[in-house]
Amino acid sequence: MRDPLSKTRKARDARDGYGFISLWLFGFFALTLIPLLFSFFLSFTDYDLLTPPVWSGLNNFKTMFTKDPRYWKSVFATFYYAIAAVPLRLVVALGVAMILNTNRRGVSLYRALYYAPSIVGSSVAVAVMWRQYFGTEGIFNALLRAVGIPSNISWTGDPRFAIWTLILLAAWQFGSPMLVFLSGLKQIPNELYESASIDGASGIRKFFRITLPLLSPVILFNLIMQMIHGLIVFTPALIITGGQPLDTTNFYALYLYRRGFETFEMGYASGMAWVLLVVIALFTFIIFKTSSQWVFYEAEKGR
């Protein structure tokens, strides 16, 4: 192991390695790390983009937590959305993945078709389409009327329903977690199901005793990714409801954007962004911590 070449070789490896990722490193430092640190600094200032930032200490955070009712409303809306949309999307994704996890003819076509909504997913076009569906004179109301239910509810404009149209949109865009589930399902050895069948286990029992446990690492991954997506939801609210009605869809990221880029309170917006970062980190940490209770790793030793 300790051959005299190892040192120079290590140095050379390092040089080559850094050489290869240099472009990425440049991007990371110039486009991510430096702006990140800068926004940390800004969160302690008043900054309107056009004049230099003025130090204001913890003022932004004080306002946020004690003097801004719309802030807490946006926190509530965001959690409401995430708690409803994330499990819904995961359940739909898993369900569709299981249906598509067969070897029937043409199944790959269906896989592509079901993934399609997610490609166009966070795009503005879909959001605009959703508005057409759920507007007062939208397709949804027309359908209701066609089956004899007179409805002129403004689904996206009514404080009771607006957030649910967005949750529905999230559930519909199940494509990327579905693909991950699909690849997870493919890795579960068929023999397990076969021997379970021989023992006379029902489909439901097989699902809970074989599929779910063996899929749990994939569920963990999807849960974390989707939770983060849920907490930073932005585009659908901006385009479909504009945060309206009555701020019921004024999600955290949207409100942050508004304060930063509409009323140009960049310091306040930066502060909000950092609180969000801390909260997401905290939630990820909690999920990881609890994961040892429910995630099953096949290769784990000593258990």
């Binding site: 050489g19 007062t136 404009g157 504009g242 009605p245 880029f261």
Partner: protein, 435 residues
């Protein structure tokens, strides 16, 4: 070996892309002046302005022009970010409410020099119209057209309902009665969208000879909340009677009511709507160009004076970050004075300030623009003086307080109008006290 080749390839790739980038800037090195123009507006405006830019490029081959446009809602986000990054376009559309702040921050070039040198020719422009672009006696912006508030009335609908057009000095009481009649006779909303917007708030106090902000901009400028409360109550009555689009429907069906092209009056679902006078051409175009829209001054409070005034609809300013301020100014001069350019624009930004341009356009105007011209003419004779620019933090007050916490909460029945007026005063003063 393989690794070495890989490294070599990578470095070739990197070097060549750097070289390419360098080469690019080398060849594109401006022999030509390059200027960029940015504006906000409707589809009609985008099409017209782009045509004028093409025309300018043909007649001025030494200049290359790029452009960008957006809706009003995105515009200020865009330009403010650009300004912070030192990337502000050479010519930018400006607004009466914001210009003072932008000038104060040194973002614009003073234009007096270009006027003296006749790069921007003001021979045919009344001095009072040029003065609208002055701050403390210095010229910072060129007025692109005069306009005023208006209530667009769909005359065909009035006829169909057998309701005579009101007198021009109508009051809010008249307005409410008509909206209710339209509902009763035609089953449509009498009034369309955006009734809650802050322009109406301002108009009510202007009609009383007051202003919403105190002279020092540090507090709300009027003592009596009653007119504001009455206005909120009127909206509630109209919605309840089905004579005004409910806020729910406005959000879900008309995208919040901010784009004139997407409003109920276009689709024949309402017969009255508040718009700026120059927006009539966008409304007319979007509705097919075959309807009889007439422009009315805003209603007055009982016994009050005109709530209307003449205002520069918007300006062009030259950015202090521009490399070619003179070329930018030349374009503004062309935009203001060139007859052919204005034949394309057809006064969509408001009544042109150059008397020569006005004369040339008059015989060509489609009926809808004739209506706009005569309306602006009428207001210039009967209107009130132009109120001061909006207070600093006006945007903050409207976006963070007025719309979400005051009018929306009333329209969604969360609070009553009296409480709303109290909240507006207390929290509004708290925001303004930072000025």
């Amino acid at each position: 070996m393989v690794k070495k080749i890989g490294l070599l390839l990578i470095s070739i790739f990197v070097l060549s892309s750097v070289a390419m980038a360098a080469g690019k800037s080398e060849t594109a090195k401006p022999r030509k002046a390059e200027i960029k123009i940015i504006w906000w507006g409707s589809q009609t405006r985008h099409e017209g302005t782009i045509k004028v830019i093409e025309l300018y490029k043909k007649t001025h081959p030494n200049v290359d022009i790029t452009y960008e446009f957006s809706s009003w809602a995105d515009y200020w986000t865009k330009v403010t970010t650009m300004a912070a990054g030192g990337q502000l376009p050479d010519v930018m559309q400006q607004d009466y409410a914001r210009i003072a702040e932008w000038v104060k921050r040194g973002l614009h070039v003073q234009l007096d020099e270009y006027v003296t040198k006749k790069i921007i020719d003001t021979t045919n422009i009344e001095p009072s119209l040029i003065d609208t672009g002055r701050i403390d006696g210095k010229l910072w912006a060129i007025n692109l057209g005069s306009n005023s508030h208006s209530m667009i009335l769909d005359a065909d609908m009035f006829k169909k309902a057998g309701i005579p057009l009101p007198p021009k000095d109508w009051t809010w009481e008249d307005f409410e009665k008509i909206a209710l009649q339209l509902r009763e006779k035609l089953g449509i909303y009498g009034y369309g969208v955006h009734m809650w917007n802050d322009q109406i708030w301002k108009a009510i106090y202007i009609s009383r000879g007051e202003w919403i902000y105190a002279p020092d901009n540090k507090s709300i400028g009027y003592k009596d909340d009653t007119p504001f409360i009455q206005y909120l109550e009127m909206m509630k009555r109209l919605v309840k009677a089905g004579a005004m689009t409910p806020r729910q429907e406005e959000i879900s069906q008309y995208a919040g009511g901010t784009q004139p092209e997407q409003t109920p009056i276009i689709f024949g679902k309402a017969a009255m709507q508040h718009q700026w006078s120059n927006q009539l051409s966008a409304v007319d175009k979007a509705s097919g160009g075959k309807r009889n829209f007439v422009l009315y001054p805003l209603p007055r409070v009982k016994g009050g004076k005109s709530a209307n005034y003449i205002k520069a609809s918007q300006y062009f300013s030259v950015s202090s970050q521009s490399k070619f301020p003179e070329e930018a100014a030349r374009f503004i001069g062309f935009f203001t004075n060139d007859i052919d350019a204005n034949k394309i624009l057809m006064a969509e930004r408001g009544v042109p300030i150059s008397s020569k341009v006005r004369e040339a356009l008059l015989p060509l105007l489609p009926p809808v623009q004739k209506e706009v011209f005569s309306f602006v003419e009428y207001i210039s004779k009967t209107g009130s003086p132009c109120p001061p620019p909006d207070a600093p933090r006006h945007g903050e007050l409207i976006n963070n307080l007025y719309q979400p916490e005051v009018v929306d909460k009333v329209l969604f029945d969360i609070i009553d109008p009296v409480t709303a007026a109290k909240i507006l005063r207390e929290r509004g003063n708290a925001i303004l006290s930072k000025n």
